[in-house]
């Protein structure tokens, strides 16, 4: 095309008089009587000569491999096309084949295009309007809101400059080198959105095994070397063999963990019969737990997800429902635990509108920190929309997200959202926020309090605080699908094990290993607990 452009530009010098010919109509073809309806020469060719070649009667190409037959077919193609056209016009079908250049301007087409255009604009606005975004945001996919890496973004945004440069380079190279024109041009490795891949670090045990093997081998190798050559083993063993103590950490340097739920079962068994709550006043729900309880097959849009969350939350029978979410901050004391679970990784994305599509399957997103960071603020925005009014009617929803708690109520037929200052909280973990909500509920709402969570940490913290409320506190554990979903009477457990042990439990739990502290390898929870009690 560079050559073509050069030819066109120098047309007056190389081919004097040709410009007039082109101007007079040699450049494009007009096949109709109307103005402004010229079409390129090759379109004309495709529509006339080649039209028959590409018809269903593909002729000789479909029936023979004979080279000469094909050549003959090609040579006679144009005359055959002329004959076919003539024949068609004889039976009055000639015009039917002629493409009308102005078909786009038919009223029906204009109407259809307009409707489609409006739909498009609406959709873009509902998802992510590129022109109203915050300036500092990186290049985002406007459908999923996922950001691209800097590399891709730079590559895409420099398309005009790079293209220009490559074009010019080619022209100068052709000038300097005689046979450059025939030589191949290197393909440009353009990085586009399609190149974006998701990197997800999985919590596997392979690295740990390799490391541990390495350490045992180390010991064996020392022993072997000591046997062959004379080594003062006493001196060697005066140094630590591993960079981290293996009594408290794993071979790859991460914290040692123990099965927390053992403590949970132990505490649960202290009471023989837990019974069932009678008058339920409040449900307090761990938001992330609720997300995991939901079916993994969720609809593809954020707005629909938001609605399923509210539906699932309102399925609880109580009038007041509290939902608390974790806040994800970095750096955080919980980073080690999150790294272990493989929650980190993947790329940034933004949740802007209800019509926006999820970038991945819901089930996969549950492991993504970014999703859990972005979703709760979106819920706060989305739940005050009027179409949820019939569902919220008669209920009271407290949604604790980030540092604030928002209350959703239906007043005078409209959903209102107001901030509850007394429930404002800067705790990043939902585990401790639950306690705040419990104390608030005990003051304001009569009836039993049920905490919907399945976490040992929550039970431990609850036992520590339960003496501060008069209402009976229950925990409803296990996800919806599991058969052993049951109630645990926290108040009764606290009474059984006594206030002293209750007060000591959080300290004991963190000492023997929780999310932030490493456990003692092969010591577990049960034996330390029996010693303590």
């Amino acid at each position: 095309m560079a050559k073509y452009q050069l030819d066109l530009m120098n047309i007056d010098e190389t081919h004097p008089g040709l410009r007039q010919l082109l101007d007079a109509g040699g450049f494009s073809v007009r096949r109709t009587d109307t103005e402004y309806s010229r079409i390129p020469v090759d379109v004309t060719l495709e529509q006339t000569v080649n039209a028959d070649a590409a018809s269903r009667l593909t002729g000789v190409t479909a029936s023979t491999d004979n080279y000469h037959a094909r050549v003959r077919w090609n040579i006679t193609k144009s005359s055959r096309a002329a004959l076919v056209n003539e024949a068609l016009s004889m039976v009055d079908l000639g015009n039917a084949r002629r493409q009308e250049v102005r078909t786009d301007l038919k009223p029906s087409r204009i109407q259809r295009d307009n409707i489609d255009l409006q739909k498009l604009i609406k959709q873009i606005e509902a998802c992510l309007n590129p022109f109203t975004l915050d300036m500092s945001l990186p290049l985002l996919n406007i459908s999923t809101g996922r950001a691209v890496t800097d590399e891709v973004s730079n590559s895409l945004l420099s398309v005009p400059e790079v293209g220009k440069k490559r074009h010019q380079d080619f022209v100068t190279e052709c000038k300097n080198q005689k046979n450059r024109f025939e030589m191949p041009i290197k393909r440009n490795p353009l990085k586009t959105f399609a190149k974006m891949c998701v990197v997800n670090r999985k919590a596997g045990s392979t690295s740990k095994e390799a490391q541990l093997k390495c350490t045992t081998q180390l010991l064996g190798r020392i022993a072997f070397t000591a046997a062959v050559t004379k080594i003062d083993l006493e001196h060697v063993f005066s140094f630590p063999l591993t960079p981290v103590p293996l009594s408290m950490a794993r071979g790859d340097g991460t914290m040692a963990h123990t099965d927390k739920s053992q403590l949970f079962h132990l505490l649960e068994k202290t009471v023989a019969d837990h019974g069932k709550p009678r008058v339920i006043g409040t449900h307090i729900v761990d938001g992330n737990f609720q997300l995991h309880c939901m079916s993994p097959d969720q609809p593809p849009k954020y707005g629909q997800i938001s609605e399923s969350i509210i539906r699932a939350s309102l399925a609880y029978p109580s009038r007041r429902i509290d939902i608390t979410f974790d806040t994800y901050e970095r750096p955080s004391i919980k980073d080690c635990e999150r790294d272990r679970r493989g929650a980190v990784g993947g790329c940034e994305f933004a949740i802007e509108g209800p019509a926006q599509r999820l970038p991945e399957k819901f089930k996969k997103l549950l492991n993504r920190e970014e999703f859990k960071r972005q979703l709760p603020p979106f819920l706060v925005k989305n739940w005050s929309s009027p179409h949820l009014q019939p569902q919220i009617e008669g209920r009271e929803i407290y949604l604790g997200v980030m540092n604030v708690c928002t209350r959703f109520l239906v007043e005078d037929g409209a959903v209102t959202d107001e901030c509850v200052p007394s429930l404002g909280c800067n705790h990043p973990e939902a585990d401790t926020r639950v306690i705040l909500h419990m104390l608030h509920a005990a003051r304001t709402t009569p009836g039993d309090i049920i905490i919907r969570a399945s976490d040992t940490d929550i039970l431990v913290i609850l036992l520590h605080h339960v003496h501060r409320v008069t209402a009976t506190v229950w925990m409803e554990v296990r996800t919806s699908g599991q058969r052993n979903r049951r109630y645990i009477n926290v108040t009764k457990i606290a009474a059984t094990i006594g206030p002293a042990l209750c007060a000591a439990l959080p300290g004991f739990h963190s000492f023997t290993g929780c999310d932030y502290t490493s456990a003692f390898v092969r010591k577990g929870k049960i034996r330390p607990y029996t010693i303590l009690s």
Binding site: M1, K3, Y4, Q5, D7, L8, M9, H15, G17, L18, R19, L21, L22, D23, G26, S28, R38, I39, P40, V41, D42, V43, L45, E46, A54, D113, D116, K119, L120, I121, Q123, I124, E125, N129, P130, F131, T132, L133, L137, L140, N141, I142, S143, T144, L157, P160, V162, G163, R166, H167, F170, F181, P184, I185, N188, T192, F193, A194, M196, R357
Partner: protein, 226 residues
């Protein structure tokens, strides 16, 4: 050549698709001076296809095409054909439409930032009432207020292309500019306007040159698309 002399023309004009044109050029050079009076033109239709392919590659997976499928403007099964320009007619309809949607959104943003919007609004009302009587649009287009708005909007668009509204906006402004080039080229063909054609060809070649080298020189496997 025989044709040309039969028609009393000094030059023979031929149009090839890009792949054949390259070979034709080579023959022309190696067999000098026999074909000196032959002028080889590139089929604009094939240039369009190349251009759409280049644009398609740039916007693939960017969310824009997903908008088309989400709104049922484009069937999900046809998405690939649209991106790779396997269907010229579909591209010809949808690319300008998508660009127009972005253009309207950008204009809305521009109007909220534009400080003389009230004045413009009054003028619009004024002309609307006049239009009822006269049914002519010419003097509206010539009005200084409108000219000013158009100028300002063009400036605003340039700024967006330079990244004044963030990177996502910059990306789509770039897309809009490319589609505008397509419109220019289409217009050049329809009006037989060679000067306009030459000027737009530079940009088109620039963008296509990113895709593959073959396109710059003029190579694209020819297939029958219509």
């Amino acid at each position: 050549m025989k044709c040309a002399s039969e028609c009393w023309q000094t030059y023979g004009l031929v149009t090839y698709d890009l792949d054949v044109a390259k070979i034709a050029h080579e023959i022309q050079i190696s067999e000098q001076p026999e074909f000196d009076r032959l002028f080889i033109m590139f089929g604009v239709f094939h240039i369009f296809i190349c251009f759409f392919r280049a644009i398609g590659r740039i916007i693939a997976e960017s969310g824009g095409p997903a908008m088309l499928t989400d709104t049922d403007v484009l069937a999900p099964g046809s998405l690939r054909g649209f991106i790779e320009c396997k269907s010229y007619n579909r591209c010809r309809r949808l690319h300008p439409m998508l660009a127009l949607a972005f253009e309207i959104l950008l204009y809305r943003r521009f109007i909220t930032d534009y400080d003389q919007a009230d004045e413009l609004h009054n003028e619009m009302k004024n002309y609307a009432s006049q239009f009822e009587k006269k049914k002519e649009v010419d003097d509206i287009c010539d009005s200084p207020t409108f000219m000013e708005v158009f100028r300002e909007y063009e400036k605003y668009k340039r700024k967006t292309e330079d990244g004044a509204l963030g990177k996502t906006a910059q990306f789509w402004a770039m897309y809009m500019r490319y589609i505008q080039m397509y419109h220019f080229m289409q217009r050049a063909v329809r009006e037989n306007n060679i000067i306009l054609f030459i000027s737009t060809l530079t940009t088109v070649t620039d963008s296509s040159s990113l895709l593959t080298g073959r396109i710059i020189r003029g190579g694209w496997p020819s297939t029958n698309l219509i």
